[in-house]
Amino acid sequence: MRYASKALVLLLAGGIGSRLNILVGHRAKPAVPFGGIYRIIDFSLSNVMNSGLTKVGVLTQYKPLSLMRHIGTGEAWDFTGRTRGVKILPPRTGEKDSDWYKGTADAIRQNIDFIKANPSQQVVILSGDHIYRMDLDDMISYHRQKKADVTIGMMKVPMEKIHEFGTGIVDNDNRIIDWEEKPKEPKTDLASMGIYVFDTQYLLNSLAKDKKEIDFGMHIIPRALAEDRVYAYPFEGYWRDVGTIQSYWDTNMDAIRPDSDLSTEQWGIRPNPDADGLTMDRPPARLASGCHVNSSMISAGCIIEGTVINSVLSPGVHVHKGAIIKDSVIFADSVIEEDAVVDLVICDKQVRVGQKAIIGHGGNKDTVNRLYPTHLYTGITLIGKKAEVAPGISIGRNCIIHTNTTSADYADKKTIEDGETL
């Protein structure tokens, strides 16, 4: 017996995710490509589908076009049908509440009409920017068993990372008795995953109380804790926040590490094959005579004539003879020309790397990016969408080449030093 059919899902997909730098220059974080043929939001949408939930609202705000195109009718995740559906809920003006979404709780509050129009027993609130698998049906049934007002998905994280999360202390019954948002001196290693199950009526009442309460972690949950039944749903398993360049790269690499627990196919994660570029209406990957490919994920439509090691390639990437790609993530339809080297790079879509260009030159990974020292500090270089990397040029570590850069933009430069931005 599934419980999920009586629950409504609200997916928060409005975040900027600015630490992903130029990858979110023209798209929202949930729409960032991942693992070759997916986008980050596919994980949340597929979890929802695989849990038997059939009604979803997606709250968008920041650069939603790419996300809206990707979601389409929702057919890819089985959300089409008379009583099924996925609705995009952008901020809007009305008689009242005419404003941008000011926070997670505020975003939900501005869509109370959607919640009321789709009667449900529970509302499941998720964020669209994590890589994980979770059975939400089990969480909903747990929520009902505990007769909770709110249930929060929580997992143990390493102590050194706990300051990034909302944290909770639980009693023997997993009831949350204390809560701290991003604590400097943490008392627990139990972190909130930003996944909430609310009793619908409770949520409506709670949101009606004080409109200054705009955030779940900061306002709604601490108050609920004092007054009502708030439970932790313990989650064990693979879960990654891909909010930084380093964690984004690392999580992509998990897709090819034999010992990692990330397996999109086994998890039942579905991409949208009808989205832009028809990711799967492409012939099988063609690995030409003389190519070398190891420890890599290669999507349909790729042509590999050179060397690819430890990398993830989206559909339609063409690696010409003599080119070497190593430890990199390459988005769709990028072309790496003869004898170019791409080492520790995230390349956005439709990038052209000219002959004999070197990206990721030298062994100095310690010179951080001058403009974004907190974004690029582990050696990864970023190449923006549709950028051209001039033939023969040498680009160092922790560099950024911006979207739409053309060969002319390099002027007479032969090298881009470590940590520089073009």
Binding site: I256, M280, P284, A285, R286, S289, N294, S296, S299
Partner: protein, 419 residues
Amino acid sequence: MLKPSTLAMILAGGRVDELGVLTHYRPKSAVPFGGFARVIDFPLTNLMRSGIELIAILSQYRSYSLINHIGTGAAWDMIGRHRGISILPPFKDYHNPHWYRGSADAVYQNLDFVKYHNPSEILVLSGDHIYQMDYRKMVRYHNEVGADLTAAFVQVKSDKAHRFGIGEITEGNEQGGRLLSYEEKPDTPKCNWASLTILCFRPEVLYEILAINQHNTSYEFGRDIIPLMMKRNYKVHGYKYHDYWGYTRTVEEYWQTSMDLLGPNPKINLEKWGIRSNLEHRGIRDCQPLLIGPNGEVDNSMAYNGCVIEGTVRNSILFPGVKVEKNAIVEDSVLFFNNVVKKDARLHKIVSDVNTTFGKGSRVGCLEESTSNERDITVIGWNNIIPDGLVIEGGCTVHPNIEPSLWPAQGLKQGEVLQ
């Protein structure tokens, strides 16, 4: 031109004996081809690219796989107000107790469907060839010359010409010309222009000739309809096609046409063709990208999403879901969906149907490179589990669903058949 004027009818009913175990459970048109697609995806993609959006598929033999594959037609954008693919299975009615007795009979029995759509041209296509063609050019030619029938021809090797319908075309026009003679599978072909079974008819003429043909005892377009029209002096034109044409009537041809996808300059450039398939069929849309392990080695091969390669793959085509385990070697082979090649197994020059597992250390196919000739292809039917260590030599045929107890411990010798 709001409503489509051309109706395409794809002949997809037949099975071909020479393809053997590959067509035990599916018609020829539904045979997998090109690492993720089916043979019928080629004419369907051609139609889509040609803007011909009203399609009927005549199916008869084991049609489930085909019906499943066509689905709603959405894969080829064939759903909409005036767009659609209709599957026309055989039926009984007041007048007619027959199965489709041939390709021409199949169309004849569905003339009410055809007339309802009132097309300006009827394009009859075979569903089992690998080629790319813009049918619009041919339809334009057909209308320009005012032909009753325009048939497409391609030049084949002279020593193979006796296997095809051969047409002599009047010289002079690059695009085509009046057909001087037509012979179906002649012992001594007059030339080497072979029919592609791409036939563009003027509807009234087709209705007329199909009715006449009903008095006959054979009902095939190539064998009966074209010769009948020649005899009765209808205006029949030959349209010359010059590009790649892949024929898949025998296992050897199927294998060769598949190999034409490989090499430094593939004869069939799938990237350029933009071939479409139904990704719902067998759930290939749920596959993750191809995963190549730390010890994987792949050379001159194609593999679609869902494959996992830990061993060595050379000169081969892997359909979605094929797993090649460590130290296994796959060479010169075509492995359909969800084959598993266990550790230390070695395959050479085989075609293996879906869901077959090759046991640890098994040896399948012609292993001696030097003695290999085109008859040496080993074909394995679907849903087989080949025991660990078993040796199956070249040129063997294994039928689908072999009971575990039936596998001979000594293996299969050159050319043996297991059923």
